[in-house]
């Protein structure tokens, strides 16, 4: 069975458990939805889920990793985060291959090479964590343009990461 079919089955059976698990770790519903989605996506990218002995534990273990990474990105995160050891029956993680590096030099070269508008959007969002509305107002561009500059900016950063 493919990962996608398996995952749909897992989702039907344990989606409620996953949301319950994540709700105990983050406060907002939107973040719970984001993290659940990211958990499923990571599992979709795993090499082979058919050998997982305890799918529910596995699902929650990956969700734990996703939630911990999310927590690391938050300026304040005091609601986190203890593993539920009793859930971690299956200790093998799928091969997620998320380890990636972007050198300081490549980041700086890329930011220097893009347009001032795209650079401003990227830095105001990723460094200063301004909202899209604030960025649009500052730069006198529409909300949609902010999103497009950001998505295109990520593409430049991807090439920098791979270059």
């Amino acid at each position: 069975m493919s990962n996608t079919s398996l995952l749909l089955e897992w989702q039907q059976r344990w989606n409620r458990s996953l949301f319950h698990f994540l709700r105990r770790r983050v406060r907002s519903t939107i973040e719970v939805q984001d993290l659940a989605q990211e958990t499923y996506l990571r599992l979709l990218g795993a090499r082979d889920l058919s050998h997982v002995r305890n799918p529910q534990a596995y699902l929650l273990q990956v969700a734990s990793h996703v939630a911990m990474e999310w927590c690391d990105r938050q300026p304040r995160c005091d609601s986190m985060m203890m593993f539920d050891d009793d859930m971690l029956v299956d200790s093998r993680l799928p091969e997620l291959e998320l380890d990636a590096r972007l050198s300081q030099q490549r980041l700086e070269e890329t930011l220097a090479s893009i347009s001032p508008m795209m650079r401003a959007v990227l830095l105001l969002r990723l460094r200063d964590e301004r909202s899209y509305q604030e960025i649009g107002a500052e730069l006198q561009i529409t909300h949609r343009q902010v999103r497009r500059y950001l998505a295109r900016g990520f593409e430049h950063l991807r090439r920098a990461m791979e270059g």
């Binding site: 996608t4 939107i30 998320l98 590096r101 972007l102 347009s115 795209m118 650079r119 730069l139 295109r152």
Partner: protein, 106 residues
Amino acid sequence: MTGANADMTSIFVQAAHWWVVLREGDASTRQNREFMEWVKRAPEHVEAYLQFLRLQSALARPNLRWPAISAEALVSKALTESPVIPLDDGSGGCVVTSGDVAVSQP
């Protein structure tokens, strides 16, 4: 840019665009469902989104430093130097207009 690279760029930009839309804080259930449908539509979409997550992971590394230029200087430079921005994606360039990202708009 070869055709395959151009396709990859386009799919990656779509993946990035979905992330941007879904992180806005007011993403609807419909948008979340559409995103999942987009992901499931092709293995390339899954790969592009995972690639996007790898980029996020790389950008989140604590030893990576963003340039120290102030927000005011960034805005000022953007307003004076780029009223309309050519976006070079390697396919001959394009301009930011309402149709430059080929994804379904939420």
